[in-house]
């Protein structure tokens, strides 16, 4: 009994050490600053279609519309990069507010380009980060340009504004201009 407990304790200790090592590893790795790093290398749902098909999408070609429907589904279920769990990130993008209290915005989607989700279809889920702020931000508005810092969490969420593949909790941010 005692030895079992000892073994358990040792295993637990080892586990904690390993988790600690992984955590340190994730925290020490270079900060993620580029949106493309959130996409698994080579992932591209457009690739299996004839590249010239999409130029005809404006004409409402049935073939193009059908392809686009398939692609939309792939974009909303876009794969994330597993190794990014816990990685520090500092991403520049635009705000799509989700939640706010009287103290200000508490939760928003960070998107990579102006107008995304608001006036245009959402980007792929691996290009959308749900941000939960450390402190509510009073004067934060839709499409404000911000640079968000925090640790990435792999978490798929379906919001009214589109599907996100990552989340950052206790996030801080700074405003910027291009």
């Amino acid at each position: 009994m005692k030895s079992t407990r000892g073994w358990c304790r040792r295993a637990l200790l080892l586990g904690l050490l390993a988790a600690g090592a992984l955590r340190t590893h994730a925290a020490d790795a270079p900060t993620i600053e580029r949106w493309l790093d959130l996409t698994p290398p080579g992932w591209n749902p457009y690739a299996k279609f004839n590249p010239l098909l999409f130029g005809r999408i404006q004409d409402g070609s049935p073939e193009a519309v059908a392809a686009m429907e398939k692609i939309r589904e792939a974009l909303d279920n876009a794969p994330t990069v597993d190794e990014l769990q816990g990685r520090k990130a500092r991403l520049a993008g635009y705000v799509v507010p989700l939640q706010s209290t009287q103290d200000g915005v508490t939760e928003f989607l960070l998107v990579p380009y102006f107008g995304a989700c608001i006036h245009t279809p959402p980007p792929p889920a691996n290009q959308m980060v749900m941000v939960r702020l450390k402190a509510p931000a009073k004067a934060l508005r839709s499409m404000d340009a911000v640079r968000v810092s925090g640790a990435l969490i792999l978490d798929r969420a379906h919001t009214g504004q589109g599907a996100s593949g990552y989340r950052i909790d206790d996030a801080t941010f700074e405003r910027f201009r291009y």
């Binding site: 493309l36 590249p51 999409f54 990579p112 608001i118 980007p123 508005r141 404000d144």
Partner: protein, 178 residues
């Protein structure tokens, strides 16, 4: 904010001076997408941004279409005319044949122009490849090199502000544009 803008402008000016503008960057310099935007130009006036908050209001939609007109006539960086550059971005196919893709738009983010509005003209390069390339799909990440021209062109999918003829495909990349 104004101070910040001035500082940013001053930095951009210094960067230009260092690079030897207005002759443009030295041969084969790697361009970042931000280099294509004249310093100080804002993609949207603040009041427009405020009005964009509501997607479904008719006023919001009207402002959005106004904004897109502004983007199609976005100012270009004349000092880049004739510069020998390399740049990476996402491919939006325009034309090609059995030999492969021959003409494309190079854009800075995944999803631009196809089933989504185009970015500002100063963020789109019309590209004619020196030799058609097989196996290149929509939104593949590529790096190209060639002589950049400041030239506004209208294609089926967007108004582009820059053009590169006889472009050479350096690589299909998994590391992304900046």
């Amino acid at each position: 904010m104004v101070g910040g803008m001035l500082a940013a402008g001053a930095l951009a000016f210094l960067a230009d001076a260092w690079r030897g503008a207005p002759q443009g960057p030295p041969a084969g310099q790697t361009l970042r997408w931000a280099d294509l935007v004249p310093p100080g130009w804002a993609p949207w006036p603040v009041q427009t941004q405020l009005a964009l908050i509501r997607d479904d209001s008719p006023a919001g939609r009207l402002r959005w279409s106004e904004l897109q007109k502004r983007w199609a006539s976005a100012p270009l960086r004349q000092s880049l005319d004739g510069a020998q550059v390399r740049i990476s971005g996402y491919a939006v196919p325009l034309d090609g044949g059995a030999g492969g893709l021959a003409e494309l738009l190079l854009v800075p983010y995944f999803g631009a122009c196809i089933h989504a509005p185009a970015p500002p003209a100063n963020q789109i390069i019309w590209v004619a490849l020196k030799a058609p390339v097989r196996g290149l799909g929509a939104f593949d990440v590529i790096e190209i090199a060639g002589r950049l021209r400041v030239s506004r062109q209208f294609s089926a999918l967007a108004t582009s502000g820059y053009a590169m003829k006889d472009a050479v495909l350096l690589s299909k990349k998994e590391a992304g544009p900046r």
